[in-house]
Amino acid sequence: MIAVLLSPVRQLVELMLGHESDRQIAAGAAIGAIVGLLPKDNLIAASLLFLLFSLRVNRSAGLMSLAVFAALSPLADGLMHRLGSRVLAIESMQPHYAWLYDQPLGPWIGFNNTVVVGALLVGLYIAYPVFAIVELACARLRPTIVKRLQRFRMVRWLFGSRIAGGLVGSAAGITGVMGDQQA
C-alpha cells in the first residue's frame, strides 16, 4: 500500500537517478506529450501508449509528460478542433479518408474525430521541441539534482523499496553512481 502511494515519487527519483540516458528520457516525454493531448478512446492513443511502453524510452518521463499534457489539453481543445476540422475538410483527401474509414478497425482508429486529428498534429508538432527541451534540461539539471538527492536517506530508502528482480541492475547502477559520488 505504501509502495503504491510512493510510486509517483519513486518514479520521479528514478527519473533523475536512473541509468537511462537523457535522450531516452526526452523521447519518453515527447511520446507522453502526444498521448496526453489525444483523447484516449481511440486506437491512435492506445498505439502510442503501447509504443511508449514497448520502446526503450523512459516510461516515467512518458507518463509524467502524459499527465501534464492531459491536464493542459482541454485548454487547447478549441485550437485542436479547428485544426482537425480543417484537415478533415480537405476535399482532395475525402476519398482517402472514406477508404480508410471503411477498412477494418477504421472507425476504431478515431481519425474521423476533429480533436484527435488536431491533437495528433499538435502533438507531432511539439514533439521535437519537447524532446529538445527535456534533453537539454536533463543534461543541465540532472547531475546537480542527483548530487543533492543522494544526500537524503529517503531517496536511498525509496530505491531499497523496489525488490523486483529487474531493479537489481538499476540499484547496482545507482549504487555505482552513489559510490562514485562518495568517492
Binding site: 483523447p39 478512446d41 511502453f53 514497448s54 520502446l55 526503450r56 481543445d77 485542436m80 478542433h81 482537425g84 476540422s85 478533415l88 475538410a89 475525402q94 476519398p95 479518408y97 472514406a98 474509414y101 471503411d102 477494418p104 478497425l105 477504421g106 472507425p107 476504431w108 474521423n112 474525430n113 476533429t114 480533436v115 484527435v116 488536431g118 529487474g166
Partner: protein
C-alpha cells in the same frame, strides 16, 4: 532490434493472450450491462438480464433471464425470455457495428408478473411506448331496435282504421230502409187521398145537387193527385239509379280498403349492414382496439428515427462522403421460440424476425416478423415494418383456418339479442398503417353458427319466438356466413364498418317472419271484413231491389185508382147525372 524491450513485450503479449481468454467473463458482464442500459432507454422501462456470457473468439453472446418491463404497467413484463443467443459478425465489429448474423430467442413468454417495479427512476411518461387501445366508434345506430319497434306498432295498430267499406255499408243499410219507408208513406198517403176523392165523387154523384161543389172540384183534386202520383213514380223510378251509384261506391270502397290492407302488410326491409353492425359491433370493438393498439406499439417500438449515437466527449465525429453507411445495430435473423396464453388458451409459438435495425433508412430491407402458433390458438402472423421511405408503411397479416370463437352474446339487452354456441372460424386479417392512415380488411367465416337463444321482444313473447325460430332456421341453412370488417380512419381516430352475411341472413329471416306475422294478421282482419261484407251486401241489394219492386207495384195501384177516378169524374158522367136529374124533374109525375 535493440530499440524494443523484449523483456517487456514478450511477457505482456503472453499476458494479453491470457487476458483475451479471461475477457470472455468480462465481456459477458459488459454485454449484460449494455443491454440493460440501452434496452431500458429504448423501451422507457427496466430491462433486466440475469446473466451474460460473451466470447470474442467465437463472436458469440448469450444472455439469460431476460425481462422487458411493460412501460404501461411497470409491475408486469411485456416480454420474458429464458435465453438469447447471438452469433455476431466479427468483421462488422471491426467497423464499430453490431451485426447479429443469427440469433435464437428461446422461452419467450408474453406478459408475466414482476417481483419489483420496473419503472425507471426518471422515466418520462411521454416516451413510454404505446398507450391505451383506442376506442373504436361503431357507425351503426339502433336500426334493429327501430325496426322491431315499427313491427310491433304495425301489429298492435288498429288495422281497421281508415277502411271505407264498413261505414259505407252501415250507412246504406240504414238509408235504404228509411228511403223505402218514406216512399211507402208517400204512396200510402196518396192512396188514402185517392180513396177519399173517389168516395167523395161517388157520394156526389149519388146526390148531384148536394155534391155539385165536390164534383166541380173533383177534376182539380184529381189533377193534383196525378201530379203527386207522378212525383212518387219519378222518385221510385230514380231508385235503380241510386242503387247503381251505391253499388259503385261500395266497389270503390272495397278497392280502397284492399289497397290499404296490402300497404299495411308489407314490412320494411331491415338494413342488413346496420343489423350486422348492431349485433356484432360490441364483439368486434375491443379486439379491433387491441389490434390497432398493437400496430401503434409496433410503430413506436420501431421508430424510423435512428437511435442517436452518443456524441464524443471531445471534438466532433466527421462523416466522410462516400463512406459505406450501415446501421450501428442490425439483427439479420432472430429465431423466436416461446409460448403464451390468450383467453385461457395455451399456445406455442415459433417464428423469426429479420431486419431489426437501429437505423431503418440505412438498411434497405424492411423489418419482418413472422410466426405461427399452435395449440389452443392456431394463427399465422406476418408483419412487415418498412421505414426505408419517407412515410412509414406497416402491414400486419393474421390468418387462421380454425380460430376458436367462444360463445357470444350478440346485440344489446332489451332489443334484438342472440346467443351463439362456441365454434371455429376461418380468419384473414390484413391491416395496413401508412403514415397515420389506417386501413384494413378482416374476414371471419364461421364453420357453423348455432343460435341458442331467441329474439327478446318485450311485450310480445309469441312474436319474439316466431322471429327467433325464423332466424335460427335461416342461419342453420345458410351456406356462407362470412363477416367482413373494414377498418379506416387514422390511427388516432380509427373507425370500422361491419359487413356481415350473417346480418343479411338474419335481416332476411326477420323480414320474412315479420311480413308473415303481419300478413297473417292482416288476412285475418281482411277475412272478417269480407265476411261482414258478404253478410251485409246481399241484404242491402235485396232491400234495394225489394223496395223498388214494391214501390212500383204500389205506384201502379195508385195510377189505376187515379184512372178509375178519372173515368168517374169525366164531364159526361156528371152531365148525364145532372140530365138524369133534370129529366126526372121535368117529367110530371103520372
Amino acid at each position: 532490434m535493440r530499440i524494443f524491450r523484449w523483456g517487456y513485450l514478450v511477457p505482456r503479449i503472453a499476458l494479453l493472450a491470457v487476458a483475451l481468454l479471461v475477457s470472455e467473463l468480462g465481456l459477458g458482464y459488459v454485454a449484460h450491462w449494455s443491454l440493460e442500459q440501452t434496452g431500458s432507454s429504448a423501451i422507457g422501462a427496466r430491462v433486466d438480464v440475469a446473466e451474460g456470457k460473451a466470447s470474442l473468439l467465437n463472436a458469440r453472446l448469450e444472455l439469460t433471464g431476460i425481462q422487458v418491463t411493460d412501460p404501461r404497467a411497470t409491475w408486469s413484463n411485456l416480454l420474458e425470455a429464458d435465453s438469447l443467443e447471438l452469433k455476431l459478425d466479427p468483421a462488422a465489429a471491426l467497423r464499430k457495428k453490431l451485426v447479429v448474423e443469427h440469433g435464437v430467442l428461446r422461452g419467450v413468454r408474453l406478459g408475466g408478473e414482476r417481483d419489483s417495479d420496473g419503472a425507471l427512476p426518471d422515466a418520462d411518461a411521454s416516451v413510454a411506448i404505446g398507450g391505451l387501445a383506442p376506442q373504436l366508434s361503431n357507425a351503426a345506430s339502433g336500426v334493429a331496435q327501430q325496426w322491431l319497434s315499427d313491427l310491433r306498432q304495425r301489429l298492435s295498430a288498429d288495422a281497421t282504421a281508415g277502411l271505407k267499406t264498413p261505414p259505407l255499408l252501415e250507412r246504406l243499410e240504414r238509408e235504404w230502409p228509411d228511403r223505402a219507408q218514406e216512399l211507402r208513406g208517400s204512396a200510402a198517403e196518396l192512396q188514402a187521398m185517392v180513396a177519399t176523392l173517389e168516395a167523395d165523387v161517388r157520394e156526389a154523384k149519388n146526390n148531384p145537387l148536394r155534391g155539385l161543389e165536390t164534383l166541380q172540384q173533383a177534376p182539380a183534386r184529381l189533377a193534383q193527385l196525378r201530379s203527386e202520383a207522378a212525383q212518387l213514380r219519378a222518385a221510385v223510378a230514380g231508385l235503380p239509379a241510386q242503387a247503381a251509384a251505391d253499388r259503385r261506391r261500395i266497389a270503390e270502397a272495397r278497392q280502397h280498403d284492399e289497397r290499404l290492407l296490402r300497404e299495411r302488410v308489407s314490412v320494411d326491409s331491415l338494413d342488413a349492414e346496420s343489423l350486422g353492425a348492431a349485433l356484432l359491433g360490441d364483439s368486434f370493438g375491443e379486439p379491433l382496439g387491441q389490434l390497432v393498439g398493437l400496430l401503434l406499439r409496433l410503430r413506436e417500438a420501431t421508430s424510423d428515427e435512428p437511435i442517436a449515437e452518443s456524441q464524443p466527449a471531445r471534438g466532433v465525429d466527421v462523416l466522410f462522403p462516400g463512406t459505406r453507411q450501415t446501421p450501428a445495430l442490425l439483427v439479420k435473423r432472430l429465431e423466436i421460440l416461446g409460448s403464451g396464453r390468450i383467453s385461457g388458451r395455451p399456445f406455442e409459438l415459433a417464428g423469426h424476425l429479420t431486419g431489426l435495425t437501429s437505423d431503418p433508412k440505412l438498411h434497405t430491407e424492411p423489418m419482418r416478423l413472422a410466426f405461427t402458433t399452435t395449440g389452443g390458438l392456431p394463427l399465422e402472423v406476418q408483419a412487415t415494418l418498412d421505414r426505408s421511405g419517407e412515410t412509414p408503411h406497416d402491414v400486419l397479416v393474421v390468418t387462421s383456418e380454425a380460430l376458436p370463437i367462444p360463445a357470444l352474446r350478440l346485440g344489446d339487452t332489451g332489443g334484438m339479442r342472440f346467443a351463439t354456441d362456441p365454434t371455429t372460424a376461418a380468419l384473414r386479417c390484413e391491416t395496413t398503417l401508412t403514415g397515420d392512415a389506417l386501413s384494413g380488411h378482416i374476414s371471419i367465416t364461421p364453420k357453423t353458427l348455432q343460435v341458442r337463444h331467441a329474439v327478446e321482444l318485450a311485450g310480445d313473447a309469441r312474436l319474439g319466438s316466431t322471429l327467433a325460430a325464423s332466424v335460427a332456421r335461416s342461419l342453420s341453412e345458410a351456406a356462407d356466413l362470412e363477416t367482413r370488417v373494414i377498418l379506416g380512419g387514422e390511427v388516432s381516430a380509427p373507425t370500422y364498418t361491419i359487413e356481415s352475411r350473417a346480418g343479411a341472413v338474419i335481416a332476411a329471416a326477420l323480414r320474412d317472419a315479420g311480413t308473415a306475422s303481419v300478413t297473417a294478421r292482416a288476412e285475418q282482419l281482411l277475412s272478417k271484413h269480407q265476411e261482414a261484407l258478404a253478410a251485409k251486401l246481399p241484404k242491402i241489394e235485396a232491400s234495394m231491389t225489394g223496395v223498388v219492386e214494391q214501390l212500383n207495384a204500389e205506384v201502379a195501384t195508385q195510377l189505376q185508382g187515379l184512372d178509375r177516378l178519372a173515368e168517374l169524374t169525366k164531364p159526361g158522367g156528371i152531365g148525364r147525372g145532372l140530365m138524369n136529374l133534370g129529366s126526372r124533374a121535368l117529367t110530371p109525375p103520372r
